[in-house]
């Protein structure tokens, strides 16, 4: 009688990649619901197309183009698709989102070998592609909830856009902090409700699915930098609270920068990664041509990730540094 002699450990947790991805999808549910509530049927269509389209595109690439017959969907494409949908305006035509998905899944993910091989966050690559190719459609912001009252499109500038053009006092006169916290403002579908994003984040923290150090350091850095600039000129630069509640910061810090594949895996690495994201975000918000810089900051830090990892390698338990001169 011969038994299986595979190597230890003989016990494995019943965790797997699909469970991780499903948890992330669940965590995005509150933000998705807020998107549909605020932007209506087109928002629902975009979310469905995001999830289903991404999974179908991945299935096609894996089965037909890469000929991986035993491929079983793991939900990572659905996460990318939903994140991309939540990162566009609720008014975007669905076929443009589909183009974004093709870029995200095909170009940003599978050209590099699929899940685990991609250096850049696929959803962000898709978003930036759309942003550069279709700037008008990508920045036509619907006023939150206006679809319920009017058939005609009611547009509304984002708080960050108003800050850039007219200063913080004007921005706050249009939308108070509570509006920004709950999501009663213009912006990308998934970014507007900080509350919904925080609920999803709390779920991931409880499930132990998220590199907490990244949002802590990212948001902390934004708070720090905006506090300094706030003292220089409150109206021009905006308050710290204004900065963390506005734009894509929460969506980016909680769900995009924390993408496992494209961020470092040590706590120290994550702290540096988040710090870099924070600095670049604020530089773009203050001095860039665009009002918002979360996407670019994360993509730039994705590129820096290998360097961060190289410089923050862990030392084994009980490591004794070699004394200089001693041989």
């Amino acid at each position: 009688m011969n038994f299986n002699t595979s190597s230890a450990p003989h016990l494995r947790s019943n965790d797997n990649v699909r469970k991780v991805m499903i948890d992330v999808l669940i965590a995005l549910l509150p933000a998705t619901i807020m998107a549909v509530v605020n932007f209506g049927w087109n928002a629902l269509l975009l979310c469905v197309i995001g999830v289903a389209g991404a999974e179908l595109v991945e299935l096609f690439i894996m089965k037909v183009l890469r000929k991986k017959k035993d491929f079983v969907p793991d939900g990572s494409a659905a996460v990318t698709g939903l994140l991309l949908a939540l990162n566009v305006s609720g008014t975007l035509p669905w076929y443009l989102l589909l183009i974004g998905i093709l870029v995200a899944i095909g170009l940003a993910k599978h050209i590099y070998g699929g899940l685990g091989g991609n250096p850049f966050n696929p959803a962000l690559v898709g978003r930036v592609f759309l942003f550069i190719s279709f700037p008008t459609q990508m920045t036509t912001w619907m006023k939150a909830g206006s679809w319920k009252i009017s058939d005609a499109l009611v547009t509304s500038a984002t708080p960050l856009g108003i800050l850039k053009d007219k200063g913080m006092e004007t921005a706050l006169a249009q939308n108070g902090y509570m509006d920004m916290f709950l999501g009663n403002i213009g912006g990308s579908m998934g970014e507007i409700s900080v509350l919904a994003l925080l609920i999803g984040f709390a779920f991931l923290v409880i499930r132990g699915r998220i590199k907490i150090a990244i949002p802590v350091s990212y948001i902390g850095t934004v708070l720090l930098i905006s506090s300094i600039f706030y003292f220089v000129n409150p109206n021009q630069y905006g308050s710290p609270l204004f900065h963390i509640l506005s734009g894509g910061l929460m969506l980016g810090a909680l769900f995009m920068a924390t993408d496992m594949v494209t961020s470092p895996s040590t706590i120290k690495g994550c702290l540096i990664f988040g710090f870099g994201c924070g600095v670049i975000t604020m530089l773009i918000r203050y001095f860039g041509a665009m009002p918002e810089g979360v996407s670019f900051s994360i993509l730039i830090m994705n590129a820096v990730k290998p360097l961060i990892e190289r410089k923050t390698r862990l030392k084994p338990f009980g490591y004794v540094p070699v004394k200089k001169g001693a041989k």
Binding site: L11, G116, L314, P316
Partner: protein, 439 residues
């Protein structure tokens, strides 16, 4: 009460209920025993007997060669039937073994002279006894026990820690020993403190064994303390337990005595007590026979050299479709090819696992989730090490701490991509040593 612990680690299902309430039974005398001469870390001892020779229980059959080596004794009264090379289950190559046929009528003993007044004996005398009795670490690592005390004979240490963590799931033999042989274990600890000159004795037990903690606490004194450890794997790993108990970190590549500590398993302390008080060499040990693949899981005292099939038969035989028979625990144990190999000094458990429902999950690409980094008790980056090893960058892997890996399996256990880190590390360590030897 604050529990003592270490950073990292995992929480596999404990499964100790299968056997924890079975009192230790003595396995009936086997018809014959087969002993591999190599039973421990270090040099294989040298045979001192020949085929046809009559042996008494406890008689020396192989003499230690060098310092890191232990002698071997006959577990039974009988006749040497065969001396030949057989496949060694751990070294995976043919190695010397001796088969002894048991005399079923009489049992005669050839033990060492007892040291009754052991608390007034000299350190040197007690040290020699541990060596002569062939005692090795019974937790599974089988490091020759006497070798831990060589340095302490010159310079006394601070603390002897007894490891009663038994952090491997399923295994319960240390737990039963602590319950049933409490005073003997305490005496063993006193002997070890005497040899090493240690002022303190600490017994660390995971808090999932409150009954054992309670029993041991009855023997607490100024010098001997029992501590509750957080139930977390690998709490019983040497460096982790020393850190949990004393807050001291044993440096990479160093031994515990560098921080004034010697650690020993509770079952080893029991063997030490028997060797000193009764003069009994290490010819038997406690084994947990457990898992979903045997009818009635048990804790037994088995002679060294008993075929594993006999232990399984004693537990009612196999049940269900058995997929694996593991020597040791599920996290670090060795999966055996068949049940013809025999109980060794390091066999703490025989674990049977039945076929799991569903297909085995294939290994997927690393998603850099960092779970393995977070759980590694040695503060390594298992994900990075695997990448280096897959690229055949063995030197770089060693520079990055590969040799600090104790193969506890926390990384592979936790990995959502089902990457077999430990297998990669084991292979890489072997390849690296082979390459280094050639240079």
């Amino acid at each position: 009460m604050a529990l003592f612990t270490f950073p990292g680690g995992v929480h596999p299902a404990e499964k100790k209920d299968l056997s924890k309430n079975s009192p230790i039974e003595r396995l009936p005398l086997p018809k014959q025993v087969t002993l591999y001469l190599s039973q421990s870390i270090g040099a294989e001892p040298e045979l001192t007997v020949e085929v046809g020779q009559k042996l008494k229980t406890g008689q020396l059959i192989a003499r230690n060669k060098g310092i890191i080596s232990v002698p071997l004794h006959s577990p039974v009264t009988g006749t040497v039937k065969e001396i030949k090379k057989v496949m060694h289950p751990i070294h995976q190559k043919p190695m010397e073994s001796i088969t002894i046929e048991t005399d079923s009528k009489t049992e005669e003993f050839d033990f060492l002279p007892p040291i009754d007044d052991y608390l007034n004996a000299s350190s040197q005398q007690l040290y020699s006894r541990i060596l002569e009795a062939g005692i090795v670490g019974l937790g599974g690592a089988t490091f020759p026990s006497h070798a831990k005390y060589i340095e302490s004979l010159k310079k006394p240490i601070e603390t002897v820690i007894l490891n009663g963590a038994e952090c491997e799931p399923y295994l319960t033999i240390d737990y039963r020993m602590m319950l049933e042989k409490t005073s003997e274990i305490i005496e063993g600890l006193k002997i070890l403190m005497k040899i090493s000159g240690a002022k303190n004795g600490i017994i660390g037990v995971e808090d999932n064994k409150p009954e054992a903690i309670e029993e041991l606490k009855k023997f607490e004194s100024d010098k001997i303390k029992v501590i509750s450890l957080k139930t977390k794997y690998p709490q019983g790993a040497e460096k982790q337990l020393i850190y949990a108990a004393t807050g001291k970190k044993v440096a990479v590549g160093a031994f515990p005595f560098s921080v004034g500590v010697i650690m020993q398993n509770v079952s080893t302390a029991y063997a030490v007590y028997e060797a000193v008080k009764l003069g009994k060499p290490l010819i038997e040990r406690g084994v947990t026979i457990t898992g979903e693949g045997v009818k009635s899981p048990k804790n037994v005292i088995s002679k060294i050299g008993v075929p594993i099939q006999e232990l399984i038969d004693y537990s009612g035989g196999f049940t269900g479709e058995v997929e694996k028979v593991i020597s040791g625990g599920p996290m670090m144990g060795l999966a055996l090819k068949d049940t013809s190999s025999t109980v060794m000094k390091g066999t703490s458990g025989i674990l049977t696992m039945v076929k799991s429902s569903g297909k085995p999950v294939p290994e997927r690409a690393c998603i850099n989730c960092g779970f393995c980094v977070f759980r590694c008790p040695m503060n390594l980056e298992p994900n990075y090490l695997v990448k280096l090893i897959k690229n055949k960058q063995f030197d770089k892997a060693v520079e990055s701490g590969l040799m600090s890996c104790m193969e506890c399996g926390s990384c592979a256990y936790t990995c959502p991509s089902k990457i077999d880190h430990v297998k990669n590390f084991k292979t890489a360590k072997r390849v690296y040593s082979a390459l280094k030897g050639r240079k």
